[in-house]
């Protein structure tokens, strides 16, 4: 076959040559990055000890040394120290610089902070991009924030279906706000198929963590028996819990009920 003859001619044996530019270079790059960011970096260890002893200027100097060596965690901590003016004079430019360096190395907290910095400067596209990277890095509140940006259409075309996906990832990690938002989307059933069962399930998880809106909504579901069996006692329990936190709807409901059913 023609193909075969051609591939025979073009075949170049790799011999014992090193695989510098092959598919392997990325697996080497990961190892090098992970090694550079190892917690056994001596400047980093010294910095942590100094920080814990409250010697912040010394800690900042040591973090700075490790940061120059490419230690992402040190770069991130250094950026927060510049932000707070801790051990170093407050300096937004330095904070932003180290935050970006760490973010570009894949440090998820730095990515999330950078996203917030972009957001504060009304750079929604930048905020979305960095938030997405932090969310891909499994950071729960970045996943939640990404959900919010999808829901509000900030830096991206609005999509509640996408929002639901990111809320779910954050909710699975136990973030109460995300659990409540996901339950809302199931309850409303506009962009994703309505499911009172799912709504009740996620409201309950958020309610157990103290989310007032989720407690109120869960109470409501017990009251009307949607997604769960009607249960007057639990309706009263969750509504009162929400009211104790000052949830307006719950307060109205409790006042009305106390009048009617003391």
């Amino acid at each position: 076959m023609e193909d075969k003859a051609q591939s025979g001619l073009q075949h170049i044996p790799s011999g014992g040559a090193l695989t510098l530019h092959s598919v392997r270079s990325s697996i080497f790059a990961r190892g090098r990055r992970d090694a550079a960011n190892s917690s056994s970096n001596s400047a980093y260890q010294r910095a942590v000890a100094e920080y814990n002893a409250g010697r912040f200027p010394e800690a900042a100097a040591s973090f700075s040394q490790a940061a120059d060596q490419g230690h992402a965690e040190s770069q991130y901590i250094l950026s927060t120290m510049y932000d707070a003016g801790k051990g170093v004079p407050q300096d937004d430019a330095q904070a932003a610089r180290w935050e970006r360096t760490a973010a570009e190395q894949g440090h998820v907290y730095a990515q999330a902070n950078l996203s917030f910095r972009c957001y504060s400067a009304s750079d929604f596209a930048g905020a979305f991009e960095w938030c997405q990277r932090a969310a891909d890095g499994e950071l729960a509140w970045a996943q939640y924030n990404l959900g919010l940006m999808y829901q509000k259409g900030e830096g991206v075309a609005p999509s509640e279906a996408e929002a639901a996906h990111w809320y779910r990832l954050a909710a699975s990690q136990g973030l109460a706000d995300a659990q409540q938002r996901l339950a809302d989307l199931y309850y409303l059933g506009q962009s994703i198929p309505r499911s009172y069962t799912q709504a009740a399930l996620w409201y309950r998880r958020a309610a157990e963590q103290g989310s007032a809106r989720a407690q109120f909504q869960l109470g409501h579901l017990y009251d009307v028996g949607l997604g769960i069996e009607h249960d007057y006692t639990l309706y009263r329990y969750w509504t009162r819990m929400a009211a104790e936190q000052g949830h307006e709807g719950a307060l109205r409901e409790v006042n009305r009920r106390d009048y009617r059913d003391p």
Binding site: I12, S14, G15, L18, I27, A35, E162, H165, R168, S172
Partner: protein, 263 residues
Amino acid sequence: MSLMPAEIILQPSPNAAGFAEKRERLAAVRAALAEREADIAQIRYQLKAFEGRYLQRVGVLYAELDEITARITEREVDLYDSDSARRRAQEARQRAQETHEAAFGADQEPEEFDPSPSLKTLFREVAKRIHPDFASDEAEQKHFTLLMTRANHAYRCGDAETLQRLLDDHLEVNASVAYEGDGLALLRLVRQIHHAERDIAALDREHQTLLGSEIGQLYTGAEAASREGRDLLAELAASLRERIADAQYRLEFVDRQVSAHGR
């Protein structure tokens, strides 16, 4: 170069003096070249061995981690279908495949040596000119041995460019020798020195490239750690095992979700 008359008297001819000087120079440069060549061969060998250890102890763990991560994202699609869930799953699966190939690919390389006819011809042309058996003296024999090693390596790697350069060098050096004469012999020496210096520069560049590469830097880091009594590959493997355990936990969690209230 202007020479004092007294020196002219002392020395048979200015050409002979220049000739001796150039011969010495060539010997020195070729000695330096041989040393560089040995260094590079050593580094290549060390990096190759380190590469194998790295893939065996760390690379396979990256492959395992990426496989679990890919499964998690695929389960998430089962759990809740959306464009970004599918995009994540596709990306994670592709990455897992790439990592797997990178980590286990070595086993699938049978190292079959099947040079093209044109490469074979080129190699023969080079070999018959620089074979150590054809050297005129001991110094040349030593140098030819080195060139022959290089030619063999280039041939095994399918590196036609290096073979062609070896051939061109030889032709350039010997083109004028047919009209033997002092001046031409000197020119020949100058060319040989030039070639050796150029090769040293090329080896220095290769040295830089090797140590500057990702695997080279990793190797340098591992060597530095080992001087501190640390085992960098073991540290990397330990932290990866933690990440794998963590990913495994997340996979089981998403599995339970799928079976509890999947689609």
